[in-house]
């Protein structure tokens, strides 16, 4: 509604603002009947249109109804909406019709006004023209008048002129009055317009109010319609739902009844079944009852039995109980006794403890005494050892002499036997005789084997030797029996070994190294070398020599083709070494190594500290292990033990003594072997000296590893672990001796002896025969003496010759008589 409100005001003002003009727009309240007719027509047209639109809306409604089957309320809503829209549209049209009417009126007015204006202007222009003409005429006449000399004429003319002017003025006044008339009319028109506008506005207001009322009414109506429609729909819905519900209830009831009947039937059935079941159950129950009663009786019997046994048992148990009680008493007594005993024993224990403490003290003192004794004994032992060595030498000499003597004796006998044999074979058997060629026949002096020394031992010896060269003049034998330098001097070996020791420190376990730090240099070297050799697998003396030789060769190779390329050289070297060292590879021989260490340690016992003893112990322990590498595990233990050992002097003393013993044994054993070994070496000292003097310095430390690598590659010696249990160095091998001697006894083989026996038997027989013959001959002779005195002298002569030649075959004998 709002947009329409300004319109009347606007229209009013619009009309106010404009010149008062005749209002010719159609209005029902107009005075003009035509205008009223026009207005009514308009109204009718509007109504018609409204009706038409209504029809259209209905048509649309019908269409909708037919198209979609929707709820009544929706339909009603739609209907109402359309209706209201229509109403509003019509209403606004009705209201705006006034504006439109005014507009068209205004247009008409404007057209008319324009026309009037045009006419007026035309008129004015015409009037101006005519008045101008008249004015020109008058002014022209003025000129004419000036020329007039006659007053009468002039007066006439003036009168005339006045008349003209008056007419002109009259004309003008007329025009003015006309225009004023028009203006007045316009004023009237303006008043009319004002009235008209107010009427229009009143109409507009009326219409608007009417419209508002209408709209409100219709809105209310439609609202009520819609509400009714909703109500109806709700009612319908309710009734339909109620019906549905009732129907559902009925069906439900019917079903319920059916179910009930079914259930009743079922109940009856079940009851019957139950009865049956009950009867059956009763029967069963009875039977079971009887059975169970029987069972009960049996069980009661059993119960009685059980009771009897129970009583018996009870009695037994009671008796046992009594016995146990008594025993308990006894045990209490014993217990008290035991307690007393314990107390007593405790006392004893305490006593013993005190005694033990005393004993410890005593032993401690004793120990001290013993250690001092031991030291003294060690010194004594050293002396003794020296003496032993000395005696050993002497013994050896004696042995040799005895041996030689015996041998000579034996050999004389053998020669005799051989002579006999030769006589027998050549003279008696007529066979050609050849002197048997046995090895032992050529042997002179005691049998000696080249003793296999362990590498470390050699090293030790070397080291010892070189070390003790200066201060140990007292042992001159040392140098002589060192047999290792076949071509190499101990110094060279030592140098090589120190080099090796320095360069291949990586082969030694770090723990061992740390352990070795506090030791003195030579010992350190020794231990290190030990470790290195065990790592490299060098065990025997030979290996060591090989190593040393290897080094020297290498160096020699390096020197000789010094101009050649190094790569070739090493290659060649390696190949040569490989060929040279095509020996079974070195495997870890645990026992040997352990033995080596034992020996080594035993050699040095006297000077060694308690550490060495510990080492010895470790090595002893090691010997029991199967793997060489298990050494590692012992090393920490060893370390742990070290302080213990050093602190307490008691245990080492015992160990020492044992070590001493072993060393004593070994040194005693070693003596002869070393001495034996040294013998063949003496002659070669010369060239070895020469060679080594060149060497040693020339081996560059950097090459050591290469050499070692090559060496290890080459050293491929398989070591049978169990085959050769290491011979004790000191023990002289007597087996060969006996063999030797036995062999000497069996110079004449048994075949020959058999032959001899046979021969002997034959000869015996022959001898018998001969004796018989002699007897017969003697008889014969006697007979012949008797027979021939003559020939006796000759015969006697002949016979004497025969006596000297007993060997002459009987054929000769038989020939003799023929002779």
């Amino acid at each position: 509604m709002n947009p329409q409100t300004p319109i009347p005001i606007e229209a009013l003002v619009e009309q106010n603002a404009e010149e008062a003009a005749p209002n010719q727009g159609p209005s029902i309240l107009s005075d003009n009947p035509q205008e009223r007719i026009q207005a009514r027509r308009l109204r009718i047209a509007a109504r018609l249109e409204a009706r038409r639109r209504e029809a259209l809306g209905e048509y649309l409604d019908g269409k909708k109804e037919s198209e979609e089957d929707q709820s009544k309320s929706y339909k009603q809503k739609e209907e109402s909406r359309l209706k209201l829209a229509k109403l509003l549209l019509c209403g606004t049209e009705l209201v705006t019709n006034i504006q439109v009417a005014t507009d068209i009126r205004e247009i008409h007015r404007r057209v008319e006004e324009e026309e009037l204006k045009r006419q007026r202007i035309e008129k004015l222009e015409n009037e101006v023209k005519t008045s101008q003409d008249k004015f020109d005429e008058i002014t022209a006449k003025w000129e004419e008048g000036k020329r007039k000399q006659i007053p009468q004429e002039l007066w006439e003319m003036l009168n005339h002129q006045q008349q003209h002017c008056a007419r002109l003025i009259e004309d003008k006044n007329k025009l003015i009055s006309e225009l004023q008339q028009e203006l007045k009319v316009k004023d009237d028109q303006y008043v009319k317009d004002l009235k008209k506008q107010s009427d229009d506005i009143a109409l507009l207001l009326e219409r608007m109010e009417e419209q508002v009322k209408n709209v409100m009414k219709t809105f209310r109506q439609e609202l009520s319609h819609i509400e009714k429609a909703f109500e109806v729909e709700r009612q319908e819905l309710l009734t339909s739902n109620k019906k549905k519900w009732e129907r559902a209830l009925q069906t439900h009831n019917a079903k319920e009844l059916e179910y009930l009947i079914n259930r009743m039937k079922k109940v009856e059935d079940y009851e019957k079944q139950l009865n049956k079941q009950r009867v059956w159950d009763c029967e069963e129950y009875n039977s079971i009852k009887i059975k169970l009663e029987q069972d009960v009786q049996i069980l009661e019997q059993q119960l009685q039995q059980m009771k009897a046994t129970y009583q018996l048992n009870q009695e037994k148990l009671e008796y046992n109980f009594q016995v146990l009680k008594k025993r308990d008493e006894e045990s209490t007594v014993i217990k008290s006794q035991q307690k007393r005993k314990i107390n007593r024993l405790h006392d004893i224990l305490n006593n013993l403890r005190s005694k033990y403490a005393k004993q410890i003290k005593m032993f401690h003192e004793e120990n001290q005494n013993l250690t001092s004794d031991y030291q003294r004994l060690v010194i004594q032992f050293k002396d003794l050892q020296k003496a032993m060595r000395h005696f050993a030498l002497i013994d050896e000499e004696k042995f040799r002499e005895v041996w030689l003597m015996n041998e000579e004796e034996v050999k004389a006998i053998v020669a005799k036997a051989f002579n006999v044999d030769m006589v027998i074979s050549t003279q008696h058997l007529g066979l050609p005789w050849t002197a048997p060629d046995y090895w032992f026949l050529k042997n002179v002096g005691p049998l000696s084997q080249q003793q296999q020394k362990s590498a470390t031992q050699i090293v030790e010896e070397v080291l010892m030797q070189t070390e003790e060269e200066g201060n140990e003049e007292a042992v001159p034998g040392m140098e002589t029996y060192m047999d290792l330098p076949k071509q190499i001097s101990p110094q060279t070996t030592r140098k090589i070994l120190t080099l090796l020791c320095d360069e291949s420190g990586f082969l030694i376990e770090s723990k061992l190294l740390s352990l070795l730090l506090p030791l003195e240099r030579s010992e350190c070297y020794l231990l290190r070398l030990d470790a290195i050799f065990s790592a490299l697998g060098i065990e025997s003396e030979d290996d060591l020599y090989k190593l040393v030789n290897f080094f020297l060769k290498y160096r020699a190779h390096q020197l000789s083709p010094s101009q050649g390329s190094l790569g070739d050289q090493t290659k060649m070297d390696r190949s040569s070494f490989l060929s040279a060292l095509e020996r079974p590879s070195l495997m870890s021989a645990l026992e040997r190594s352990s033995l080596m260490t034992i020996e080594r340690s035993s050699l040095m016992t006297t000077e060694r500290t308690s550490l060495m003893l510990a080492l010895e112990r470790s090595s002893l322990a090691r010997s029991s292990l199967t793997s060489a590498w298990s050494k590692k595990k012992f090393l920490p233990k060893l370390k742990l033990e070290l302080p213990e050992l050093e602190s307490s002097d008691q245990e080492p003393s015992g160990q020492e003594s044992s070590g001493q013993e072993s060393s004593g044994q070994e040194s005693s054993g070693q003596g002869p072997s070393a001495w034996e070994a040294s013998a063949p070496a003496e002659g070669e000292d010369q060239d070895k000296e020469r060679q080594t003097s060149i060497s040693s310095e020339l081996i560059h430390p950097n090459d050591v590893l290469k050499i070692l690598e090559a060496f290890v590659m080459g050293l491929n010696k398989p070591r049978d672990l169990a085959t050769t249990p290491r011979k004790r160095k000191g023990a002289r091998d007597d087996s060969k001796d006996s063999q030797y001697w036995e062999a000497l006894t069996t110079v004449i083989p048994p075949v020959k002896q058999n032959l001899w026996d046979a021969l002997y038997e034959a000869l015996e027989k022959y001898h018998l025969l001969l004796t018989e013959r002699t007897r017969l001959l003697r008889e014969n002779n006697n007979l012949e003496k008797q027979n021939a005195d003559l020939q006796a002298m000759l015969q006697q002569y002949l016979n004497s010759k025969i006596n000297s030649e007993l060997h002459i075959p009987p054929t000769q004998v038989f020939q003799m008589p023929t002779k």
Binding site: V13, E14, L60, L88
Partner: protein, 498 residues
């Protein structure tokens, strides 16, 4: 003195009432007095007893009094609020109060308080509502953005301006008002500008011949109030609706009551040019001729905010229309109203030319002009390329069949137009048929006014049917969110119904 005590009370009473009562002796004295009075008045025989009894006794006696109740004793807050209300003019205390107390104070304040006190202090709508309803019987608050305060100030300013007589009224009346209402006024709607009154009013009726020349001579003196300073002071002014004229002159009509002088025009042009917040500018019924229209429109070129220009009911001819056309291409104008002017074919052609390439204009009103077929055809041609215009009013323009033919062609192509008014033209029977053909292809047009345009009733009826179908379709599009429709058409449909 009293004020300060009241202030004290206010500051303390918000905390603890009891302590406030204890601390302010004045107030407690008052209550004591009241307490002592009540029993004295109500129970005469107990008077002597009460005097003797101590305070506790007294209280008991009070409790026994059947008429006594706690409601009789006003709370201290109430008293304070009362005090504040009575002294609000001298000492306005409002923002310091608690919200509930503020509400109480506002509900008791008199609407007659001077604006200098209330204008910038009170924001409460209910107070301004009371003020407004007291002053004016009819209050259309919806027209003022739903804000009573805005309405109050706008109407107040209107009243002041409407009764402002240049030369006699003190301009400071308005200038004093500016700081009070600058934040609240968004619209100035002035339908009356009083001309300066000359005390010796010459008898107009007698000297008819001289009146014109005299008007010419005295024109400088006929200037109206210059809005410049006022508009510059208003921060949020958006709408300016002016009519240079006198209302309800009735039979005292005089031409010089409706004079919009050149000086007025220049001043107004400068004013609207300076006002960058202006969105709607209306200058109607003010005898704006071509020259003045050109002056005004020149000042509006490239205005940053202007959206609606209404120069209806003036004397604008073709040159003014050409200027408006220029404005169309140099602004973001959405609504242009040139109804009831003297635009003829050339002016309409220039407008059509501008319209062809415009993308802002939504509504164009050329009612009651005389653009005739030549202009109508130009406009129709322009609508071929225009994709923005939704409302076109060409009522009362002496249009006839050729324009209708062209418009029918446009209707079958255009999809933006929703409302066309061709009432009061001479379209004729054939034109009506062609329009019917055109609208049968159109699905967007919702309103098509062809009243009093000599069309056959049948075709008018069929056009009405087509429009009804279009409206239904638009309604369904609006109700069905699945479809994308422009809100403009939907609102247009709504408007057409309401």
């Amino acid at each position: 003195m009293q004020n300060s005590s009241a202030q004290n009370l206010v500051s303390t009473q918000s905390g603890n009432l009891a302590s406030g009562r204890a601390s302010i002796s004045n107030q407690s004295a008052v209550t004591a007095q009241r307490l002592s009075k009540t029993p004295a008045v109500s129970s005469g025989p107990l008077d002597s007893k009460s005097k003797l009894s101590n305070v506790h006794r007294m209280r008991r006696l009070i409790a026994e009094d059947p008429e006594w109740s706690l409601a009789i004793v006003p709370l201290l807050t109430e008293l304070c609020i009362q005090h504040i209300v009575t002294n609000f003019e001298k000492n306005p205390i409002l923002t310091e109060l608690l919200p509930e107390h503020q509400q109480k104070v506002l509900s008791r304040l008199s609407p007659d308080l001077p604006l200098t006190v209330t204008a910038n202090l009170i924001e409460d709508e209910s107070y301004w509502r009371r003020c407004s309803t007291k002053r004016w019987a009819v209050c259309h608050v919806a027209k003022h953005g739903g804000s009573w305060k805005r309405m109050f100030f706008e109407r107040h300013l209107e009243n002041v301006l409407r009764l402002f007589i240049p030369g006699t009224t003190d301009p400071s009346v308005i200038l004093d008002l500016i700081p009070l209402c600058r934040n609240y006024i968004r619209r100035i709607q002035m339908h009356q500008f009083l001309p300066p009154v000359r005390l010796p009013v010459p008898p107009r009726a007698g000297e008819q011949s001289d009146s014109g020349s005299e008007g010419e001579l005295e024109e400088p003196a006929m200037d109206h109030y210059q809005l410049g300073s006022l508009v510059a002071g208003l921060l949020h002014l958006e709408e300016l609706d002016l009519v240079y004229g006198v209302k309800d002159c009735g039979m005292n009509f005089e031409w010089n009551l409706f004079l919009f002088t050149y000086r007025d025009c220049h001043a107004l042009a400068a004013t609207i040019k300076a006002c960058h917040t202006l969105k709607i500018f209306r200058l109607t019924r003010s005898k704006v001729d071509d020259e003045k229209a050109r002056i005004l429109i020149r000042s509006l070129l490239d205005h940053p905010a202007l959206e609606e220009l209404d120069l209806a009911h003036n004397l604008i001819g073709d040159r003014g229309a050409r200027a408006a056309a220029k404005l169309l291409s140099h602004s973001r104008l959405r609504v242009l109203n040139l109804a009831n002017n003297q635009v003829r074919a050339p002016g309409a052609q220039s407008l059509a030319h501008a319209l062809a390439h415009n993308t802002n204009l939504i509504s164009l009103n050329l009612r009651l002009n005389c653009i005739e077929d030549e202009g109508g055809q130009a406009v129709a041609h322009a609508l071929h390329s225009n994709k923005c215009l939704t409302t076109l009013h060409l009522g009362g323009n002496e249009l006839s069949e050729p324009t209708a033919t062209l418009l029918a062609q446009v209707l079958s192509v255009n999809t933006t137009l929703t409302s066309i008014n061709l009432s009061c033209n001479h379209i004729g029977l054939d034109g009506g048929k062609q329009l019917l053909e055109g609208i049968s292809d159109n699905k967007t047009l919702l309103e098509f006014d062809l009243r009093l345009s000599d069309i056959a009733q049948e075709s008018e009826y069929l056009i009405g049917q087509a429009l009804h179908a279009n409206r239904e379709a638009a309604r369904q599009r609006a109700s069905n969110p699945g479809h994308f429709i422009s809100p403009m058409t939907a609102s247009g449909a709504e408007n057409s119904m309401g």
